[in-house]
Amino acid sequence: MSALSSLRSNVHQVARVWAFTMKIFLISDFFILTAVVQPIIFASIAFFLFQVGGDAAGEQTLLFAALGTGMMGVWSTTLFGGGGAIAWQRWEHTLELLVAAPRRYDLTLLGQTLATTTFGFYSMIATLAWGVLLFGMPLDANWPLLLPVSLLVAVIGLGIMGMLLATTFVLYRHANALSNLLEYPVWIATGMLVPLALLPGWLGPISWVLVPTWAVEAIRGAAIGTEPPWLAIVMCLVLALVYYVAARRILVYVIDKARRDATLNLA
């Protein structure tokens, strides 16, 4: 198989798994309820907090808050999906079938986690709509052409981060509980909730190696930045690539360990 046809085949696999997983999410009452209700709560809290700020809560600040809280929802969904990607397959008794399939399991997992993140971007839309409808937030982007680029890059970056999380969760039966622990620290450390400049200096290096930091930066930069957010977009992609390479290596190790320890099918 030539490199080009191999690439085409791999992209087709990721796209098919993505579409399949999206379909499952769209008929899951539980997933929809979580995705619909949670971002509205987040958005309301954030808007009220910034309104209390009085004069400081200008229109740009409201958009800053809206984009941050939207990303909080995206991250929650990514984390939930990343932790759940393996657990759900175990519950359905399909994990062994996916691992034993001739096609690469890392691409299957990537398609699943990309779908989770894509679904999570509903949070962003819901938050912005909530802001416009209830709080009169203007929806003007300073760099309108870069906004969809930033959103796409954010989906890819967070999707791959979800894959990295999922790979480490293969070995653990209670991955969902572990994923809950990571929700709030990342909200803080990546500047979703408060600007990074307000955080202690020692948190800086941690923030810089987290994809959501640059994803938030890219989206905010495109919406309200004074300069085009090229650095954030490139950093997001570079980190996504690093995460993907790491995820693939970890996946090879954990699948091998699961075959050795007989833990693939443990529900």
Binding site: H12, I24, E92, T94
Partner: protein, 347 residues
Amino acid sequence: MTAASTAPTNIPAIEAQDLVRTYRTHLGVIRRHSIEVEAVRGISFDVRSGELFGLLGPNGAGKTTTIKMLITLLLPTAGSAQVMGFDVVRDTTEVRKRIGYVFGGEGGLYDRISALDNLRFFAELYGVEPAAQRPRIDAMLDLVGLAGREREKVEGYSRGMRQRLHIARGLLHDPPVLFLDEPSLGLDPVGARELRRTIADLVAAGKTVLMTTHYMFEADALCERIAVINGGKIVATGTGSDLKAVVANRTIVEIETYGVTAEAVDRLRADPDVIAVNTEDQDQSQILLVQSERGTEITQRLIQQLGDTRIGKISAREPTLEDAYVHLIASTGGEDGDSAARAAAVA
């Protein structure tokens, strides 16, 4: 996509040599320690191309562990195995291209979406070319008798339909070798019969099938050769006739009893002409299966030894494959004969 054409014909489709699999289990909370359990203890066998080979044994005998090593989901602790000449540890991708795996019971499908969506998804993962996916799916739906029902959600399917969908899934990439792990588990008699017909059709079409089951009747009806496995070891291999020969020189006396005591059964076992006694619990009664040398008349003595036990029907008959199975399992320790008899009786 057909992987079968790439396989050399002069080698067994499946070959296992001294396969061993040990599980480590952790015990205790504060003072944790681990113990090792040998699920498979040096199993060797081979399956010819186009053969339907049965692994027959009670629950916990090591059947599923053996299959999972052969389909690359578990690494053997020792020994080796090849499928179509490819090593199950080193050549996992090549093995996976050439095998289909179907297991019984619930699970293994996405219930809330249609059978068609399930098959489309797995067709992709099994490497079926996009243009060939729909024709292949249609062909598999026809084969398993689900054509016309493919747009229904799987959650509305009966156990038999689910099982046939599993087989369709396992055959999507036209693998030459099919592993069926207790495929009739939980099926009603009609569903089980339909499934057996489908399996027979697959073998007639040239597939190599390795099937595990603890139903004697199923193995006898389908398999060309059977390996009886117990306690992680193969205790006998051969055709149904070969296995029956183990008890060929015996007579089976079946005694229907009500409320028979363990002491009464022990008295029967102590009789010098009795070779083995197995019991099958039924709703209100217990069936005693007493094996003795052919030509030995012991019925009257058995009735006397049962004492006050209420007795129903008594009959003598030729030994069956089921008796051979029960004898093999009971005589090799790991599972008591009663349980084996119950497993056999379910079929």
